[in-house]
Point group: C2
Chain length 481, copies 2
Amino acid sequence: MVMNMPNWLKQRAFLTPDRSALVFNERKWTFSQLFDETCRTADRLYSAGIQKGDYCGVLAANQPETVFTIYALQQIGATAVMLNSRLTTDEIAWQLHDAKAVYLLYDQEHTEKAQLIPSIQSLFITGIETVSTAAEVRHTFSLEETCSIMYTSGTTGRPKGVIQTYGNHYTSAVASALNLGLHSDDTWLCAVPLFHISGYSILMKSVLYGMEVHLMEKFNSKRVNQLLKSGDATMVSVVTAMLSGMLNELEGDYSSRLRCMLLGGGPAPVSILEACKAKRIPVFQTYGMTETASQIVTLAPEDSLGKLGSAGKPLFPCAVKIDGADEGEILVSGPNVTPGYLNRPDVNKQAFQDGWFRTGDIGRLDEDGFLYVLDRRSDLIISGGENIYPAEIESVLTGHPAILEAGVTGVPNDQWGSVPAAFYVNKQPVSEEELIDFCREKLARYKVPAYFVKVDALPRNAANKLLRRELAKQWSEQDED
Amino acid sequence: MVMNMPNWLKQRAFLTPDRSALVFNERKWTFSQLFDETCRTADRLYSAGIQKGDYCGVLAANQPETVFTIYALQQIGATAVMLNSRLTTDEIAWQLHDAKAVYLLYDQEHTEKAQLIPSIQSLFITGIETVSTAAEVRHTFSLEETCSIMYTSGTTGRPKGVIQTYGNHYTSAVASALNLGLHSDDTWLCAVPLFHISGYSILMKSVLYGMEVHLMEKFNSKRVNQLLKSGDATMVSVVTAMLSGMLNELEGDYSSRLRCMLLGGGPAPVSILEACKAKRIPVFQTYGMTETASQIVTLAPEDSLGKLGSAGKPLFPCAVKIDGADEGEILVSGPNVTPGYLNRPDVNKQAFQDGWFRTGDIGRLDEDGFLYVLDRRSDLIISGGENIYPAEIESVLTGHPAILEAGVTGVPNDQWGSVPAAFYVNKQPVSEEELIDFCREKLARYKVPAYFVKVDALPRNAANKLLRRELAKQWSEQDED
């Protein structure tokens, strides 16, 4: 089996040099131009010392220069450690250290944050002016090589670096095309962050399909609606909170050119699905994660109401099964599934069994093989498309001298779908303001609990395991009062 | 790297059970129905003794039962040795013996021929009535497993079995989709033989894409034109001789739903390309072979006149290079390229070098990287889409007691593109009729020379190598007289 492929962007620029590759505000690049910009960026990074095999943090917004940087690292053969720009400097420093990253690439917007990160050589992406040596252009990419790392947290609260190989990205893009089709006039609107797999995977699809990407710096429902109404984009990735905002603002219909609204981040409320049906918006709900290099299970629009609440069926090269007779942990397999977590043999041993990846999520399959996700792994909170792990917040809170123990759960929120709420038992009096300030220092803003609830004791089972579902129940009962 | 995939047809029937899979005259099958028919066929074949790992000859026409048989062998895990039904019994017997095939599956139309093949257990596909044991349904296919064998000849005249793995077929279908796109309403018209890679690959695309195939028993230009005019097919594979016949008959235009006329078998004459342009027919010229599991280089319609005579650029996962400074042997690489010829380590050693497959064809690349095929390997004659190897015919001719030596070359023919012409030096008088009868006994009809020319000596170079190009030159000069 051949494991090498032609260097992706080079091959794409060779095959279809004049096709549109990237649109950002009023600026446009063909694949030939994109490859030129990428090579120039690669030369700069290479001259600054970045070499094949290096792990490099990328702390940057959705900007064309970030796209050039992502592709430039591929040209050099360095691995991109994609950093969530909303993380605190402590969180970023921890991830860079864990990945043994030797460089941190940052853009204008993240200069201040980047310069606070200790023990790493920080490089301002557009600030490297010296080009002493041209980077060697690679002829081939190996599908087994690590392309990117993205961190994800788990029950322990300690984030783990997900290895994404070139093979993972390639097979993910292919599996998606076999599911959603591939039209020569497709444009994918990217209003999700490039540091998430949802955004990064759009870039990989672009180069593999020869497809235009319309990059948006930040999600803006008015602007997204404009682009979908004018027919400038035919595909778009959203999470429920984004779609909800778009529908609220939408007057009239989207263009008939819109052929896929790819909706991630948990099952959508029926009201949204019905609104989409009325507006003839082709919603494809999808279940995926950093570990599956994006989509792995997808629900076609025609099933969205008939199979309400389902995430759909697996992509063609993938499989899903339940560990249990009826409900149980969701196991997935496929060529897009990560080979493992970086430097975590302990975790990998538990997460991978007989070719299956244990997602940690709980679900069931109906008689037609449709997947229903009942509970996200480790009581995962999905807030506006960001994954939040209760254990991570709990571990910060118990680090405060006044707190004895803490339990965090997601509670419903109209704008974000869900937000974290913290329940705590204290040793000494402490104000909510102080707890907020304490969390803000150590946690990205979106992880800071929206609510703090003082309790006498946390609900625990016989084995003393925290019952986060009970917290959620307490919250909803309190809400009804 | 994961090398296993879900069992293709089973997965497809699970994912999109109600989509149309196969149309043949007035009969239709969804993927669910196709899978049922296939399982029934698999049970019959299994009950008749066919097991995983067996090599089974398939001698059958383009009929639904042949499709069920092809998929059924995949279900069992047996390898299909696809036999050109135009071959003589001697030729078929040789291929079956060479492949160590243990069964020969044949249909009604080929009963007589099949029963003449010695030393093999012949099974009439639809004649197996006893079902004693249900075949075990496989959960996965390994991409490295051999799916099919197709024979191709070479310079020695002795055919070689090309190994086509599941991985070859999968990556070929994917590479083609990345090139031609993939629409949910595509229907591929298959009027080429299923025993050729051109036809077999359409079936693999069907199951991998979830796409309808319209199967035609025999090519009929009137019927093909009807289907393309009505919009019942959006894609079709043809060779020049077929397209030429279609254009001659065509009144009016094809439906605007026709989005790909995939044209194989050598560069098309400019007159045909211009006629297609005038009729707005999207012609994709392509270069491929049994060893590349179909397409490997393709020319987009917009380049067909600007790059006249070119076969185009490689598919995304593939590469092409020339062994030589300017003109030279064409080398190709990609995941769709065969791992080798069956049981022929000698030939494989020469044919594969550093990850490249030596096609034997001669070509050049222009400054934009477009491939021009200058001469088919081993003076290959392509006649109406069939490959004819001069050496094979020469070896038959010199077996006749009256013939001293023989040289065969392709000469132009309006209907077939090219037909074989034989030049010979005799030892004793012999009539053309006798030579024709002699050839017909030993060679498939399309290989029997259309012309016999008695000469005093054959053109040879200093190393005594036959100069077949000189023969072609002599013919064209004689033609002008």
